[in-house]
Subunit: 363 residues, 4 copies
């Protein structure tokens, strides 16, 4: 029950950063859905590092092989399995870490849990690398949703305290496509420049920065989700906190709503083309856990990459005594920008799962 | 799958605000656990309104009747069912609302979902009143955890932008008890005074305010939780977003971490009495979804009560035309302070569920 | 996870035989479905003992009180909770049993599991009495299914080795209704006479007999169910083995198929009114876990009631030494005939759950 | 939710008979468990056809590649993924079948469900070939259980109506090993000879036969399993009906119990070495869904292979008219003997899952 999420649509991720391969099994996909491999690859490439000085120098080609679930380029009802072989493994870089847990990483908790049996090279199963198979699953979900007029997109809302513009009231497919085509996923390119500078500055300081990702889904019908624990917030949260480094999640105004008055935070209802619309969207498209038909809007907080080049205080587990650790190897001074498509992927997979449940209250 | 959460320990909530009764079935409780009814009632009373001008004037006695699951005051292995009869129902207050959805409420989404079949008097199954049975389940979980040295407590971290002190690095049972005994659940009573003033001011303005609840759990072993989607954050989030009005959730530094550098956000490890401890706790006691053994710390954002006395713009669903709505009846100008024990309750139930899974990686 | 089943439709049973009440929470019912209380009561009465010398002399009125989930006689989207108070409790009859587990009962396993904390008066939560709330849930599911042209019925296929006729190839609603209206639920009334005689003979011998229940569902669409572990057989089995005393389950020819040849067991396909039909139904309406559109047919084996009046060898748990036990009190010499509506109820609830999942492969 | 089972231990099977590969992801394995690859291969070989005239002439090497989850030959806490490449694909044999569903196969139901999108070459995801990855998962579970003194074994209880001896009251590890080492998995080799003759006779008749598999688990503690729907029977049934061709399942006396009297079917309790034992085991080691500590015994009915060489009546789906079908290619005249290790595998995986839940009622 650890590396899976979903109810009708089950996404099960496997692999360790430096093992033979990483991959995903997606069970419950509707049959007959075309998978556009080129579009999927472009989506995966948004997550991939390489080239840019903003990311790790590791090369990850991230081309999935589909072992099952596709027939003639379409889903065939059987579980889909996609595998990505691990090629560029510098396991030598991680020798010291087995005994000296990196602050801010899962090294220590994996040791506490599994008593040293864990394969923690490069973070093992906790590695951000596991988000590649997540993007395979979510990229396919995005294609299926788009065919029904539901579009999921995200941008980098903040890095190191520097903020992008928020999404407009009605983010469109075109806007999502435009962000996706940019080398740096922001709405306000000037803010993006300052974010990039902050990332490079952190890199030069042998340090790292975090960020916030804002994700939206347009085209959802009203009435999706269930009361209380079956709410769309609950289900998205249960999946989104599985993305490594995510430490906070909010819907609509979220934490800011806590400082507003009801008269400011309530979205007035209006009639538009014979349908109920909200005049504003502080609820993020969700009331009582159920979609209003307005765009779903969420924000995920990504902590600064814990792998930094500076010396840090840790312990030597074998001797149980204080130690100093300097992490070598190639690391990302920021992962928030690379996590933008990952948040989209997980959001899309959860929404498709909900839509597959059918009926939504009446029958 | 809507009004339940948990894996081994299943908490299933039922009832509508103005129906015959509300209640909870708790399946999977360990057998032989004493339930201290007086202690439980004191816990429930922390959630209850009444008396104070800060809350609704509705009277809710909230004394549960146990229909099953207890034998001689102890759990007997069978599912526990507790029922609270609804007494003080002024259904008349809600007549107009069936056709004019209240902004910020689930009235509209329930209508979109169930086409008018919903019992939405007083919010129906979406009502904050449903948190009373949640507190029965969580209150029992708290007693069971306390017997194993695990203590869960919370305070009101902010109201209307006014902040309480955060929990100290190692919040203790005594501190939790002290907050619980106070009429207003804060650490800094002076801040509490200002919060109360802000609530009363909102009330006088026929408006409402929101707040933030900080919850901590002390005494958890390291190694609890699973990687990725089985993480302790995922499971807490899946449940906590089921509390009405919660719109944001963060662990440790959460959203603030997004503006920190890695060197600031990483908690250095140290050796203390032969065990690994972190020198700070920005991770909120969780790395890679697994407990570190440091206190678990989370913060939940509660939006301002959507029921306010001011006129609001809405629509008349039957005529599908704009309408104005002025909500009468008795409402809370703030629910954040009443939600403090609810956050404790849900947190405790999730933690007990995780502990019941046993083994935690080795076998 | 013990006393619940279902995915979208969750049925959660609570209560002990001699506790205050027994009941059920049904979460996930579609909204706007009328519940015909009189029809439901007639269904519950089929399970009820009383009057007949074939059953226990205990009086159980079994009239449910609905605490939630209904509004104006229709489901309202919120979880439905129904409670049946326990009235006729002769707890005194069970005193000796706490220390001397009854052979064939769960007394010993409950003790092994819960170390004496269990409330085992009358079987506690393991009692056949818990099938009353199951019938409330399933009776409502039957009404909802019938509105869509899906009918579930059952008969007593065997008692004490005496066999009823099997269902015809296409059992109809009328046939189901006819069986339901009979005092003894068989197709062949002459066989029914001999079954009754066998039950009375066992009663006179202070003994008991078992039986087999055959259940069918007509009107199911083809294509319902998922491959492998999501098959309709898997899901029905996961629920049906929860009925006390069920020790075997088969679909279509079941165990008899193991002695047939492929040429005998394969159902040839034919075209009928432009649709594919099978000429026979040895598959019981299921191939590969998925419905064929032919009637679903299953058979459940019910063991002889373990409570018998004869002296039996057991152990005294406190002294851990051999003991003899003679069970007094009022017991059923056979429960198979009373279990007929229970098998219908559980089957109907599982089928409704599957239908609520929607989509069924395409989208 | 279709091709997975388990709660803490999740087994997720993927692949189609004639796709690139088949495989399994096993999530939730305890860490630090050695996987003896040679022992596992011997287990897989018991399922493999080849050589014998009793099975298909297809060659399946069935050597799994482990992509993740193992580190130094031991489980590392991360999900384990094993892949078996499909080599010997004669897809040409299956051309005609796309339009003429084979009686007794899932061809028609897959078409009804997925509208022709399914990859049904060789049965696709419904193929018996998918039991190979199941055996990888179950074979590992067997090794882990054996290390704790829990042993799972099975034999062919019947073929074509010819019966093997049943297991003795206390089947031992040695007995399980002995059966496993035999070319034909029976206790009574003389009965085995007659079974083999019956299989060959069916083969010569271009027909097939079915059989019954009896499986036992020795060494289970008492108290494992939950009441009602969390019972060990429910959980085993939910998984075992996922094995292709299984159409019936019974525990202990099962269907035979329906013809016994209570005085015959109740197992008397006795004291043996200071512990409670049953003198007989008609309950199959389970009372009230919970283990008694006696051997768990179950029997699964396997229908005759639907693929037979004789001409059969079917329909032409494109023309929707009657058709005749003669299946060519290489098929098993019986799969029951090959399913013996599969039943062991699934049983072992379910039992390990239950054991991993921990606590079992007390805490």
């Amino acid at each position: 029950m650890s590396s899976e999420f979903g109810s009708i649509l089950r996404v099960s991720v496997f692999g360790q950063s430096h093992g033979r391969a990483i991959g995903v099994v997606v069970d419950g996909l509707p049959a007959g859905e075309a998978v556009d491999r080129e579009e999927l690859q472009r989506f995966l490439d948004r997550r991939r590092p390489g080239g840019s000085p903003l990311s790790t120098a590791r090369k990850e080609t991230d081309i999935p092989e589909f072992l099952s679930g596709l027939e003639g380029g379409k889903t065939c009802g059987a579980p889909l399995c996609a595998v990505i072989r691990n090629a560029d493994q510098h396991s030598g870089d991680y020798g010291e870490l087995a005994d000296k847990p990196r602050p801010g990483h899962a090294d220590f908790t994996a040791w506490a849990k599994w008593g040293g049996h864990a394969d923690m090279r490069g973070g093992g199963h906790f590695s951000g690398r596991l988000t590649a198979p997540l993007c395979v699953a979510g990229g396919i979900a995005k294609q299926i949703l788009a065919r029904r007029g539901i579009f999921v997109g995200a941008h980098l809302a903040a890095v190191a305290g520097i903020c992008d513009r928020p999404f407009p009231l009605h983010p469109s497919r075109e806007l999502f496509d435009e962000i996706a085509s940019r080398p740096f996923p922001v709405l306000d390119e000037e803010a993006g420049e300052r974010m990039r500078a902050a990332i490079l500055e952190a890199k030069n300081d042998l340090d790292s920065v975090g960020g916030i990702i804002e994700c939206a889904a347009a085209g959802l019908p009203p009435g999706l989700g269930e009361p209380m624990f079956g709410g769309i917030e609950n289900r998205l949260a249960a999946a989104l906190f599985g993305i490594p480094a995510v430490k906070g999640l909010e819907f609509g105004e979220g934490f800011r709503a806590a400082a507003l008055r009801g008269s400011e935070n309530n979205d007035p209802f209006a009639v538009e083309n014979g349908r109920v619309r909200a005049e504003s969207n502080r609820a993020g498209g969700i009331l009582g856990g159920i979609t209003t038909g307005m765009p779903l809007v969420l924000r995920a907080a990504v902590k600064p990459t814990p792998s930094i080049g500076r010396a840090q205080r840790t312990v030597c587990l074998s001797a149980m005594e204080p130690a100093e650790l300097t992490i070598h190897g190639r690391h990302d001074p920021c992962v928030a920008h690379r996590a933008v498509p990952v948040v989209e992927a997980v959001t899309a997979a959860v929404l498709l799962d909900l839509l597959l449940e059918g009926n939504h209250g009446t029958f």
